[in-house]
């Protein structure tokens, strides 16, 4: 463990104002994109189920429920 105390760790040698935002922005961006994609998938699933019901065909050949 490189750091002596939690305080040192958070201070990051005086550069906390640059290091923490860098990591925060990166993780928020990745997490946000992941979330957006998940919502996009649920919307697509609903749209697909709706379209299949409308078409009256219940073929599961599309492997939609895999």
């Amino acid at each position: 463990m490189y750091w002596a105390s939690l305080g040192d760790f958070l201070a990051m040698g005086g550069h906390a104002a640059f290091i923490w935002p860098a990591f925060a922005i990166a993780l928020i961006a990745l997490f946000g994109l992941g979330l957006l994609s998940r919502w996009g998938l649920t919307a697509a699933e609903r749209e697909h189920a709706l379209a299949r019901r409308e078409a009256g065909r219940d073929d599961s050949s599309t492997g939609a429920d895999a």
């Binding site: 998938l41 379209a51 065909r57 492997g63």
Partner: protein
């Protein structure tokens, strides 16, 4: 194998099988890699602690370039063999590539401020990343510019290939341009020579980032396939109703 994947149903089943593993690699890789970089690796004798930004900056740069290459390969497959799913894989990859490139630019800027006192430095690599980011935006914008997805898919595939051919030339010209206007003392972003304590966290984080990309791909490609099938079903239903 390639043509086996052309069948969306089989492709969806493969994606569903991969997803938990990709999620695992992503969480573990990013978690361990970044923790190692932040907690255990030594600071740089010159830059001090700011070098730790490298553990997110460098993998993001690698991913930005890796994903564009993957998009070019998927686009070539889509164009040459009319592979329907490959187009959607390329479309699903673009947002991830753009995100990683943007992360690389932002973290590069946050790294540059304490080191050179400037939020943006026209370093050769950062400049190439900025251009790569524009290529991603152009690709995504082209997809959105058409009503008919099939038309958009092939146009975007051509653009991705044209971009991929031009990228090395752009990289070469930017590197040359940078040496021409090289201020004497600019410390390159690479900074410390890569010795194990620094290399391992980088590689683990990069692996985690790849896991994240694959996981995101399984989610986004599935959504694209389902949307396309819904569109076809609705289209077929509409024509049946008109015919009936």
């Amino acid at each position: 194998m390639l043509h086996a994947l052309a069948n969306p149903a089989r492709f969806l089943r493969l994606m569903a099988a991969i997803r938990p593993w990709a999620a695992g690699v992503a969480v573990l890789g990013l978690g361990i890699g970044l923790a190692w970089g932040l907690l255990y690796s030594p600071p740089d004798y010159q830059q001090g602690e700011t070098v730790r930004i490298m553990y997110i900056h460098v993998p993001a740069a690698w991913m930005g370039m890796f994903i564009y290459a993957a998009m070019a390969v998927a686009s070539a497959t889509a164009l040459i063999w009319r592979h329907p799913v490959a187009e959607l894989v390329a479309k699903a990859s673009a947002p991830a590539g753009a995100a990683f490139t943007l992360i690389c630019l932002i973290t590069g800027s946050l790294w540059g401020k304490p080191m050179w006192g400037a939020w943006w430095v026209w370093d050769a690599r950062l400049t190439s990343m900025l251009i790569l980011f524009f290529l991603y935006l152009g690709y995504i914008a082209l997809w959105e510019a058409f009503d008919d997805p099939a038309r958009a898919g092939r146009a975007a595939a051509i653009l991705a290939l044209v971009g991929a051919i031009n990228l090395p030339i752009i990289k070469f010209s930017v590197d040359w341009w940078n040496t021409m206007h090289q201020p004497a003392s600019v410390l390159t972003l690479e900074g410390p020579k890569i010795h194990p304590d620094i290399l391992w966290p980088l590689l683990i984080t990069a692996l985690g980032a790849k896991g994240y990309y694959v996981w995101l791909l399984t989610v986004r490609v599935r959504a694209e396939i389902l949307k396309r099938q819904a569109r076809i079903l609705r289209f077929a239903a509409a024509t049946d109703r008109r015919a009936g």
